[in-house]
């Protein structure tokens, strides 16, 4: 690949990345037909992604573990929400009925932290 082609490829990749990001953002905060918002957080590579999401009150957030190691989803206070161990492709969901900032982590890999902001 010559320099010019490489430059073009980079531009195309960046553009594609930007598009993907935009559609992902809209997916994470889309509203269902009943007016309930749904949101998904993916667990992969020992990371919650996105690491921070903002959702409307009443939103059900779904977590799915795409890692080949089990993880958990546990609120920092360990009581508000606490998933069972999630093996690969296992899911957990929690409906946020009150406004606030909810920080959470994986209780077996506590370096994995993230938050849900409910407005």
């Amino acid at each position: 690949m010559n320099l010019k082609h490489r430059y073009l490829a980079t531009v195309v990749l960046l553009a594609a990345g930007g598009t993907a990001m935009t559609s992902a953002t809209s997916l994470f905060s889309r509203r269902g037909p009943g007016g309930d918002a749904k949101s998904e957080v993916k667990i992969d590579n020992f990371t919650f992604a996105p690491g921070e999401i903002t959702v409307a009150k009443g939103t059900t957030v779904n977590w799915v573990n795409r890692d080949d190691i089990p993880h958990t989803v546990v609120s920092d206070d360990k009581t508000t929400f606490k998933s069972k161990p999630l093996d690969t492709d296992d899911k957990f969901s929690y409906t946020f009925s009150k406004e606030g900032t909810y920080t959470y982590f994986c209780s077996i890999h506590p370096k994995m932290t993230a938050k849900v902001v409910v407005k």
């Binding site: 020992f46 080949d68 958990t72 161990p85 690969t88 077996i108 506590p110 370096k111």
Partner: protein, 321 residues
């Protein structure tokens, strides 16, 4: 000392530290330790090199073997036969000319703390000539039930969340638990109750008592970014300062790594199940997939040997296969 391929041998007789090798990571070889205690100093030998050793080198008052991170129940591409690789580790231990007195398992016995996973490991370990097995839990062994199932099974001779100590032929062994009540953003944790117990436990011992501490997560800061360390380990090690010979054996990071600090030698063992990347060398510490023909060469058993009258602790690791 010889330095074979894939092995690290510290020679710290001179100043206690091999500066060049102060902290070295030795990828995957080694999953446990064949330890021979001779009057209080620990020496280690690679099982793959046992044939090269003189019979006298194999003998001491006490020998034991460490295995780690068997992750029974794991079935992802990194290793679809964790039972087979654990069996291979036991076969290697059984091939030793003298059976180690007991086995230490430094945690992550199971993958998801399921009863059948613990059962499988127990069944495989029953084929070891060494009948006594001492365990400490890994975070996978307490997942979901805060260690209730683990303690029902293994906690009979332990205190608190599973810590205990015992003496064998003049050596004081301490099994610690640093995988419970972990806090968001934090590292492994021992907690106040366990630290107080440790202080009391070692207080009556004479300074010449050899100490072997074993726990799952490393008791030194291997790579905090990946949670590879224990937040209150310095306090624990503080209680061990008066002792001339302290060996710390850990698992968790699925690779062997060693560090010498004053009177303390730290050693992490590899996993019998699957290798993990070197610190920071991958996006995450997830299982490494290696070609099937390489896997067994990356999993192994470590021998540790204690010998009186020498300052050095030498640990050499062997590979399966």
């Amino acid at each position: 000392m010889t330095r074979g391929k894939g092995e690290i041998v510290f020679d710290h007789n001179h100043d206690g530290v091999d500066r060049r090798g102060f902290l070295k990571c030795m990828a995957w070889a080694g999953t446990g330790a064949f330890c021979v205690m001779k009057g209080g100093v620990l020496n280690s030998y690679s099982l793959s090199r046992i044939a090269d050793l003189a019979p006298a080198q194999m003998k001491g008052e006490l020998s034991f073997a460490q295995i780690s991170d068997s992750h029974m129940g794991f079935n992802k591409p990194a290793n679809t036969d964790v039972a087979g690789t654990l069996k291979a580790a036991v076969d290697k231990i059984n091939a030793l000319p003298t059976a180690p007195e007991f086995l230490l398992h430094t945690g992550d016995i199971s993958h998801l703390a399921k009863p059948e996973e613990f059962d499988n490991v127990e069944q495989i370990l029953r084929s070891a000539k060494s009948k006594d097995v001492f365990y400490v839990p890994g975070e996978h062994d307490v997942i979901g039930d805060d260690g209730k199932g683990y303690l029902e099974r293994y906690g009979k001779r332990s205190k608190g969340s599973g810590w205990y100590s015992f003496d064998k032929k003049g050596v004081h062994f301490v099994g610690l638990v640093n995988v419970m009540n972990l806090k968001a953003g934090g590292l492994g944790s021992l907690g106040t109750d366990q630290l107080e117990w440790l202080e009391d436990d070692v207080k009556p011992l004479s300074a010449s008592t050899p100490i072997v501490v074993f726990a799952h997560i490393p008791l030194w800061s291997v790579y905090p970014e990946w949670g590879w360390g224990t937040e209150d380990s310095a306090q624990a090690l503080g209680y061990l300062k008066k002792f001339g010979s302290v060996t710390v054996l850990n698992g968790h990071i699925h690779q062997t790594m060693q560090k010498v600090e004053g009177n303390v030698t730290f050693h992490t063992a590899a996993s019998t199940a699957f290798p993990q990347p070197e610190p920071g060398k991958a996006e995450s510490p997830g299982p490494m997939k290696v070609p099937a023909e390489q896997l067994r060469s990356l999993l192994g058993i470590t021998d540790v040997n204690v010998e009186q009258g020498k300052e050095a602790l030498a640990i050499v690791d062997s590979k399966l296969g």
